[in-house]
């Protein structure tokens, strides 16, 4: 038997086409796998995450300060040392800066309380003086 008849008789077309497809599919799959291999290796090579110890630093002890800007007596007690630190005549901004420096609570409200009570006497041009 010869020619196309022999090929058909021996399943030649099927074997050839199937064989070619299997080889192609196999090597294509291998090609794809090796093209991704470096990504897998990179994944394996990733350095382990360092275990971070969370060190809880002790919070500085903050002394509770009296927190009542509407209490004139208390406010005066707190602000008297600051006023003593300033010149006899001063700007409110200077007093405010000192209050912030010493972490006094509610400096705006406290200074306003002192003004309303007449303890800070305006001299004009933004200058004040303490009036006992």
């Amino acid at each position: 038997m010869y020619g196309l008849e022999a090929i058909a008789h021996n399943n030649g077309w099927t074997i050839a086409v199937t064989g070619a497809c299997i080889v192609f599919a196999g090597l294509s799959a291998l090609s794809f796998v090796i093209s991704q291999l470096h990504k897998l290796v990179a994944l394996l090579d990733r350095p382990p995450k360092p275990i971070l110890e969370v060190v809880v630093e002790p919070k500085p002890e903050v002394r509770a300060r009296p927190d009542c800007p509407s209490d004139l007596h208390l406010t005066l007690t707190l602000y008297q040392p600051l006023i003593d630190e300033l010149e006899p005549e001063f700007e409110l901004a200077e007093l405010y800066a000192l209050a912030r420096k010493y972490h006094l609570p509610h400096p705006h409200l406290s200074i306003r309380c002192l003004r309303d009570a007449g303890k800070l006497e305006p001299l004009g041009d933004g200058i004040f003086r303490f009036s006992a």
């Binding site: 038997m1 010869y2 020619g3 196309l4 022999a6 090929i7 021996n10 399943n11 030649g12 077309w13 074997i15 050839a16 086409v17 199937t18 064989g19 070619a20 299997i22 080889v23 192609f24 599919a25 196999g26 090597l27 294509s28 799959a29 291998l30 090609s31 794809f32 796998v33 090796i34 093209s35 291999l37 470096h38 897998l40 290796v41 394996l44 090579d45």
Partner: protein, 375 residues
């Protein structure tokens, strides 16, 4: 006087057949090609000498010839008929192969697959010419341009054809410098041959070590019948790449493969006894072998051109010719052809990638054909 006459009747001079003489001339020509022309001397010298050896006329029945049981040559030939030598050669081949070029540019593997189309085309041609399916498969595998694979598959499917098929496969491997260049020139334009390949990415050692395992698992799962070839091949490769058994790797790629090559060459050559070898089938096998090899080369080149239709970074289509698994002959030929067109174009590494893919491809093809026709 009778004793002298009897002795003379037993000498080669008296027993010589014209077919033996023809084969001795063929063997001498192979030896000439190997020594004088330096055509694949590692293969052609043992085969050529084996042809001369196998065609020395002898008195049959003394246990001398390669086809006579209990002869020394018959025992040595057992490595061929059982498929042992091809497996050993693949072990050494694996220990020599550097896959980093293939890993650096995996799409070149497709060219190794495309070049196997010569196998299936020739299989159909052989069927059409009246060969049985088993014989046709053994003839088709010549298109893989892989001697050990051809011997292995033929030993399993058509052992009576081992001689002509092995001689054809090795001859065409040796004749690469003559067969491939005209096909390359015919199928590519100068502009295509000038295409430069981009630099390959650097491949990590881990990738190189993982590849033999992944490659073996994937290929042998697909075609388990290729285990006797691909198993030793990838094993040899991991011996080389692991770096922890240099002594074994070195032995595999030197002493072991050399021993197997010597024995294969000599015994395959000796198996070409004129009375067995010289027949119309052998002539047909040689003709089909040439077709297989040419189609394999052409299909690799044409597939590279087809890939270029879709790729931004074009592939030099000459590389397709290296998809056959004639290592490293076809890679060298591709490189030389590229350099003839542009002396500053270096294609060797890329061609080696296609070549190593071709080795895997032809072994997988052998496994597929064996599993189809084993019944």
């Amino acid at each position: 006087m009778d004793l002298i006459l009897q002795f003379l009747h037993n000498t080669g001079f008296y027993l010589a057949d014209y077919r033996n003489l023809i084969m001795i001339v063929v063997g001498s020509f192979f030896v000439y090609l190997a020594i004088h022309k330096n055509y694949e001397p590692l293969l052609l010298l043992p085969i050529g000498f084996g042809i001369i050896l196998g065609n020395i006329p002898f008195f049959k029945g003394f246990g001398i010839g390669i086809y006579e049981p209990n002869s020394v040559l018959h025992y040595l030939y057992f490595g061929v008929t059982s498929g042992v030598y091809p497996s050993i050669i693949f072990l050494g081949l694996g220990a020599m192969t550097d896959f980093s070029f293939l890993l650096g540019n995996p799409k070149l593997m497709l060219l190794g697959a495309a070049a196997q189309m010569g196998i299936f085309f020739t299989y159909l041609c052989a069927l059409g010419l009246g060969f049985t399916a088993q014989e046709a498969s053994s003839i088709g595998i010549i298109g893989g341009a892989d001697g050990p694979t051809s011997i292995f598959l033929t030993a399993k499917l058509a052992p009576h054809l081992i001689g002509p098929i092995a001689i054809a496969a090795y001859s065409y491997m040796a004749l690469i410098p003559i067969i491939q260049p005209p096909i390359m020139l015919l199928l590519t334009s100068k502009k295509e041959r000038l295409i430069r390949m981009p630099d390959m990415r650097e491949v990590s050692r881990k990738e190189i070590i993982i590849f033999p395992v992944v490659g073996m698992v994937l290929c042998t799962f697909l075609a388990p019948a290729s285990i006797p070839l691909l198993g030793p091949f990838f094993f040899g490769n991991i011996l080389k790449e692991s770096g922890v058994v240099d002594r074994l790797a070195n032995t595999a790629r030197t002493a072991i493969i050399d021993t197997a090559t010597i024995l294969v060459g000599l015994t395959v050559g000796a198996s070409t006894q004129g009375d067995v070898f010289l027949n119309p089938k052998s002539v047909g096998i040689f003709a089909l072998g040439a077709v297989a090899f040419s189609i394999a080369t052409a299909s690799g080149i044409l597939f590279a051109k087809f890939m270029n239709l879709f790729l931004k970074q074009k592939i030099n289509p000459l590389l397709g010719a290296a998809g056959v698994s004639a290592v490293p002959g076809s890679a060298r030929e591709v490189h030389m052809m590229g350099q003839k067109t542009d002396p500053t174009n270096f294609l060797l590494m890329h061609a080696v990638a296609c070549n190593s893919s071709g080795v895997i491809g032809s072994a997988v093809c052998a496994g597929i054909l064996w599993s189809f026709l084993i019944g």
